[in-house]
């Protein structure tokens, strides 16, 4: 498992660069990950990321776009605007979580 420096912290990541340890993440790290993929974080972005983190902690799985809408109450169309093209993967990356495993 590669180790890398993100925002001054040494963290473990997988081969694609997704963080692999939940507790190694903090919001400074999240902001650095977002910047690396060209996303400037706003409060709205953080709401989505914080929901992903807490839902992962409760469920043990990265929420899908549908879950962000049905459980998190987030607007799907808006998520596609905030995290263009590949919202689920981009959010998982910024939140320091694995890519969503579910199909839907």
């Amino acid at each position: 498992m590669p180790m890398t420096m993100i925002a001054g912290h040494e963290v473990s990541v997988d081969d694609e660069g997704f963080m692999t340890r939940y507790d190694e993440w903090d919001e400074t790290t999240g902001a650095a990950l977002a910047a690396a993929i060209g996303i400037e974080m706003t409060d709205e972005h953080w709401d989505a990321i914080r929901f992903m983190r807490s839902d992962y902690q409760a469920q043990g799985a990265t929420p899908t776009i549908r879950r962000l809408s049905t459980v998190g109450g987030m607007d799907t169309k808006r998520l596609f605007t905030l995290f263009p093209k590949k919202p689920a993967k981009k959010m998982a990356y910024i939140a320091g979580l694995p890519k969503p495993a579910g199909c839907v």
Binding site: T4, D15, F18, A36, I37, R66, K77, K85, P87, K89
Partner: protein, 168 residues
């Protein structure tokens, strides 16, 4: 273990591939409605432009009066793993449909109308077949509200120029 430079996944943002997926949904059974919806939704999540065309029996997927009541029948379906002589018995299709709906719900797969909402909100395009509408004497008012339009086969071919195509 050594520390290496930050690895940034390639989300292909800078690649203007213009990938488009066209899916023709021609079946109205519950089990055959899902492949197109699932693949279409997955493609949208990958930044692919998606067009679904509903035709013939697939028209039931977008007809307001029918879309919530699609059925799964094990009749003639050896993959249902039931004795074929039993499959046409009264109540079997109802029971099989109920079981499939339950399995889908447990896996958090939404019912057809809600799935269409998700696809629409994710930027997917939904097209209804003109001939199917005429055959069934249906107008846009009878169809799911998110339908972009009722178009003919030539229009669909034109709209999906260069697309990868799936016929289901």
């Amino acid at each position: 273990m050594t520390t290496q430079d930050m690895i940034v996944p390639a989300f292909d943002d800078d690649v203007e591939t213009g990938r488009t997926l066209a899916i023709i949904c021609s079946k109205g059974n519950l089990d055959m409605a899902y492949p197109g919806l699932i693949l279409g939704n997955a493609a949208l999540g990958e930044g692919v432009d998606v067009h679904l065309f509903f035709t013939f029996w697939g028209f039931d997927m977008i007809t307001k009066g029918r879309m919530e009541n699609l059925k799964f029948s094990p009749v003639g379906n050896t993959a249902a793993h039931m004795p074929m002589a039993l499959t046409p018995m009264p109540g079997v299709t109802k029971m099989a449909t109920h079981m499939m709906q339950k399995s889908l719900e447990e896996l958090q797969i939404p019912p057809v109308p809600e799935f269409l909402d998700l696809i629409k909100a994710s930027g997917g395009h939904l097209w209804a077949c003109r001939l199917s509408a005429d055959m069934n004497h249906l107008s846009k008012d009878d169809l799911y509200d998110g339908i972009d339009d009722i178009i003919n086969a030539s229009d669909f071919i034109e709209k999906t120029n260069g697309a990868q195509l799936l016929f289901i």
